[in-house]
Symmetry: C2
C-alpha cells in the first residue's frame, strides 16, 4: 500500500510518500511545496493544490493522511492554516482517494511510541523507520510521520478485522 502524508502550511506544504510492504516501510519520495508571500491567497492555494495533485499523479498513492489540528497559536494563524489544510484535503478527495486524519498524539505515538515525544525525536525516528540517509526537510519529515502513522493504523485495523473474522467463525 502506498501512502501520501501531507503537512499543509500556507508558506510550506511538506509531503512524503511511503510504501508499506507487509511490516516493512519503504521510502518513495519526500519534498515540499513553497509559496511566495507576495502572491495573493487564491494563487498560493492553487500552487499547493496543483503541487499535491501532481504528486498524486506521479506517485499514485492509495491513501492520503493529514495531521488533525485542534489548536493554533491564534485565530489568524488558524485561519491561514485552515486554508492550506482544506486545500490538502481537497487535493486528496478530488483525486478520489480516501483521506485520513490523525492527531499529533496519534502520530507521535505511532512513530516514537510516546505521545509527548519532541520534534527532534520524531524527525530522528522518521529517518530511521524509512531508512533515510539524513533527516528530511522539516515539513517533509512531518508529512512522512503522518504517512507512517497511517501505515501503522491501517496495519492494526487489518489485524483487528482478521481477529474479529476469526471470532465470527
Amino acid at each position: 500500500m502506498r501512502i501520501l502524508g501531507i503537512d499543509p502550511g500556507s508558506r510550506i506544504t511538506g509531503y512524503g510518500i511511503i510504501e508499506k510492504q507487509g511490516n516493512r516501510l519503504r521510502h518513495i519520495d519526500n519534498g515540499a511545496i513553497f509559496t511566495r508571500s507576495d502572491d495573493d491567497l487564491a494563487a498560493r492555494l492553487k500552487i499547493i493544490y496543483d503541487g499535491l495533485s501532481r504528486v498524486i499523479i506521479d506517485y499514485a498513492p492509495q491513501a492520503v493522511a493529514v495531521e488533525q489540528i485542534f489548536v493554533a497559536k491564534n485565530a489568524l494563524s488558524a485561519l491561514k492554516l485552515g486554508h492550506a489544510r482544506g486545500t490538502a484535503l481537497l487535493a486528496g478527495v478530488n483525486a478520489g482517494l480516501p483521506v485520513f486524519e490523525y492527531s499529533a498524539l496519534q502520530v507521535k505515538s505511532a512513530v516514537v511510541g510516546y505521545g509527548r515525544a519532541s520534534k527532534a525525536q520524531v524527525q530522528q525516528m522518521v529517518r530511521t523507520l524509512v531508512s533515510l540517509p539524513e533527516i528530511a526537510q522539516e515539513d517533509a519529515s512531518d508529512a512522512l510521520a503522518v504517512a507512517i502513522c497511517h501505515a501503522h493504523s491501517a496495519g492494526l485495523n487489518h489485524r483487528l478485522e482478521q481477529a474479529l473474522a476469526k471470532q465470527g467463525r
Copy 2:
C-alpha cells in the same frame, strides 16, 4: 459583467450571482450549499467545492468575490472557516476565474454606504439593490453583498482607469 459572490462556511456556504449592466445590478440567482456535520471534513469540503464548481458551470460568472476575514471567535472556528474559505477560493481559481477579496468594512460601505451598518441593514439594502421580493437566506444574502461590493469596486476601478488614461493623453 457577471459576478459570483461567496460566503463560505463549514456548515452553510452561501452564494449569489448578480449581473452588472452599466450602473444597474440584476439578480441572477442565490442559494446555499449545506453540509452534514456527521460527514467527515474532507467529504464536506468536496460537497462545497463541487457545489460551487456546479454554480460556476451553470452561471458562467466572470469574477468571484469572497469576504476577507481577519478575526474569528476563536482559533478552532477560524480553522474550520479557513477550510471552507480555502475551498471557495480554490473553486474560483481552479475554474480559471479572477478571485477578489473584500473586507467586511468594504462590503458594508459598498452596500449600505456605512462601514458599521448592522447585519439587518445590509440584508435590507441587498434586497433593495438587486430587487428581491424578500430578504434572501442569511448566507446567500451575505454572498450577494460581497458580489455587489465587487460590482461597485470594479465600476470605480474602471472609471479610475479611464480618468488616468485621459490624464495620460
